[in-house]
């Protein structure tokens, strides 16, 4: 004999439930309205406007894809894109090289650990503009770095770091590595410390433990951290504005084209492409994250 199922509510009971649900939706809707309306007006509408403007010619009316062609089809445009991506990639890799040992070291307790954590947060908490300013002063021809290196006879002539590509990469690393470091630290924290102990007792030297136990388990965090850093580098503005010199990655280039050359349609097209790439990366990253968690 089967067990009788609980009867579904009918009649008056059902209307009560439906009405309560409707009430919930209406009140919920009213509560979120202000935020949604604001975003629609202040964000989505301007965004749509920019997309629209990207499809209009610089002079005249009508629709055109010339702005996109001009950007993605020209050597100059592709050069800007390539520069932005290459800067981001190089800075990301270097940042990861810096972040992993740092995160590994911060696992144990030692005198000054809190201070180190504070320091690590510094670049991402202060305004990028101030950080960029400080970097430019520090790495200038007559800045401390050069002065000390010259005094120690490590170099014979002052190094040019400001306004160079490698300088820019260095500055990006300074600005954005904490994003990755935090992710890696978080990931390392989920690893049972007994695993390393087990590895060592079983005969694996510290290096082998790192390679065969820690690294496989921290790989996900390395990817996640790397993507976070990459995204920040891709969208960087203040740092290249101050310290890029002749190198104009995408953000700064868009600003130039809009405010200096006043070619808003062209700038809009570039902004749209930039937006698509960045949003695309974020979405891909989130999908990958979800896939990983499900496995």
């Amino acid at each position: 004999m089967s067990v009788a199922a609980y009867p579904a509510p009918a009649g008056a009971a059902r209307t009560r439930i439906v009405r309560a649900r409707l009430r919930e939706i209406v009140i919920g809707g009213l509560l979120t309205c202000p935020l949604l309306l604001f975003l629609a007006a202040a964000f989505y509408y301007p965004l749509a406007y920019t997309i629209g403007e990207s499809l209009t010619p610089e002079k005249g009316t009508g629709w055109t894809l010339k702005n996109y062609a001009g950007f993605l089809g020209s050597r100059d445009g592709l050069g800007v894109l390539a520069l932005t991506l290459w800067l981001a990639l190089a800075a990301t890799l270097l940042s990861l090289v810096l972040s992993l040992p740092l995160a590994l070291y911060l696992r144990r307790r030692f005198f000054g650990r809190r201070a180190l954590q504070f320091l690590m947060m510094l670049p991402i908490t202060i305004p990028a503009l101030v950080g960029a300013l400080g970097l430019v002063i520090l790495y200038d021809r007559t800045g401390w770095i050069n002065v000390v290196l010259l005094k120690l006879h490590v170099i014979g002539a002052p190094l040019r770091i400001d306004y160079t590509i490698h300088g820019l990469i260095l500055f990006y690393v300074w600005m954005f590595f904490p994003y990755g470091a935090l992710v890696i630290m978080s990931g390392l924290g989920t690893i049972d410390p007994a695993l390393e102990e087990a590895g060592r007792v079983m005969g694996a030297s510290p290096f082998v433990v790192f390679r065969r136990v820690l690294l496989p388990l921290v790989r996900g965090s390395l990817w996640a951290g790397g993507v976070m850093i990459f995204l920040q580098c891709f969208g960087a503005f203040s740092v290249p504005l101050l310290a890029g010199g002749d190198y104009l990655p995408l953000g700064v280039k868009i600003y130039r084209v809009a405010n200096v050359f006043l070619d808003w349609p062209q700038a809009s097209a570039m902004a749209v492409v930039m937006g698509i790439i960045q949003a695309g990366l974020v979405i891909a990253y989130q999908r990958a994250g979800r896939a990983r968690h499900l496995s």
């Binding site: 049972d192 007994a194 102990e197 007792v201 079983m202 030297s205 065969r212 388990l217």
Partner: protein, 351 residues
């Protein structure tokens, strides 16, 4: 004389001003199953770590087969370790977990496969070789941990409270497994636990630890029947501790005056008389016999296969008693006569 597999000489370890280990000295012969028994914080896990090499002692030496290994790093000590949290590598399958120490040692593939299968068979897990740790139950994971720890034939097997993370029902099964495997391999084992029943059941010898020192070392019987001090007695499960004073061979309950008949004691002065709850005999108020204490029943609890009592004597002494279920049960506030059979009393000097 059987060879000494592990010898500890004067091991000491401090955390700042706190002495975690003080002057630990032990000799463990080949094939012995030794338990380090004590409450949390007594230093037993610290000592295990010193033996394994993951912790460097501040003083003393660790000798394995006569060689000083105090300075030898962990990964060269060739010991095995089973962890409370299992510590299985989540990114490797069961077989790969067990194969790990063999791969690290560069063992040939064919031999590796054989030894892994053998180890898994010993813990009855060979069909699960391809699974991953997250797919296994706690008990299965710990068996993999055991297989992994012995597959490379370590000189000493260290076990850090391996049963603590298992459900109570699984513990006994796993305990038998550990006993079987270690006996089969005739391996020297050091077992850390706070559970005296585990220690009593598994060990050839027990080192009872408290506050960083070994307070008694001996066989399970010796420790159970003749605890060295009241800490050990309490820890090993004596529920009743009666403060007594001994003068000229006469044992008297302190603050009560009543004398107790006991087996011959060679002590004088302050001491504690221990007796198990199950050894206390309860009879009706009117009855008579040696070591009779008139008590009121403060509380009773029916535990299914026995009944537990909390009794209070007139002068304030509290006793715990345990009776089987087939004798009449005494109600709360009833007055009973509690008898402490002299041969069941253990007298231990008070520290």
């Amino acid at each position: 004389m059987t060879e000494v597999r592990l010898a500890l000489e004067g091991i000491g370890k401090n955390w700042g001003r706190l002495a975690a280990l003080t002057d630990i000295s032990l000799k463990v012969p080949r094939g012995m199953f030794l338990s380090l028994l004590g409450p949390s914080g007594c230093g037993k896990t610290t000592l295990l770590r010193v033996i394994a090499g993951t912790l460097a002692p501040d003083g003393g030496r660790v000798m394995v087969d006569g060689a000083d290994v105090t300075r030898v790093p962990t990964h060269r000590r060739n010991m095995g370790m089973v962890f409370q949290s299992f510590a299985l590598f989540p990114h490797l399958s069961v077989a790969d977990n067990v194969a790990f120490p063999l791969q690290v040692r560069g063992v040939a593939r064919a031999e590796e496969r054989e030894r892994v299968s053998e180890a898994l068979r010993m813990v009855h897990l060979d069909p699960l070789a391809g699974r991953f740790p997250r797919e296994l139950s706690g008990g299965q994971q710990q068996r993999v941990g055991l297989a992994r720890a012995i597959v490379y034939q370590p000189t000493i097997l260290l076990l850090d409270e391996p049963l603590s993370n298992l459900d109570a029902s699984l513990r006994e099964e796993m305990r038998l497994e550990i006993s079987q495997v270690t006996r089969q391999l005739d391996i020297t084992a050091i077992y850390v636990t706070h559970d005296q029943r585990e220690a009593l059941a598994l060990s050839d010898a027990i080192a009872v630890m408290n506050h960083g020192r070994i307070v008694q070392f001996g066989s399970p019987e010796a420790i159970y029947r003749s605890p060295a001090d009241d800490f050990v007695a309490r820890f090993v499960g004596y529920a009743n501790a009666i403060p007594v004073r001994i003068a000229q061979g006469c044992v008297r309950i302190e603050d009560g005056g009543c004398a107790l008949a006991t087996p011959h004691v060679g002590l004088e002065g302050a001491a504690t008389a221990f007796i198990h709850a199950s050894a206390v005999v309860l009879k009706a108020e009117m009855s008579d016999g040696p070591n009779r204490l008139l008590c009121t029943v403060v509380d009773t609890a029916f535990m299914g296969d026995h009944v537990e009592y909390v009794l209070r004597q007139e002068v304030g002494l509290q006793l715990k008693a345990r009776t089987p279920v087939d004798v009449p049960v005494f109600a709360r506030n009833a007055v009973v006569a509690a008898f402490l059979p002299p041969e069941k009393l253990i007298i231990v000097p008070r520290t």
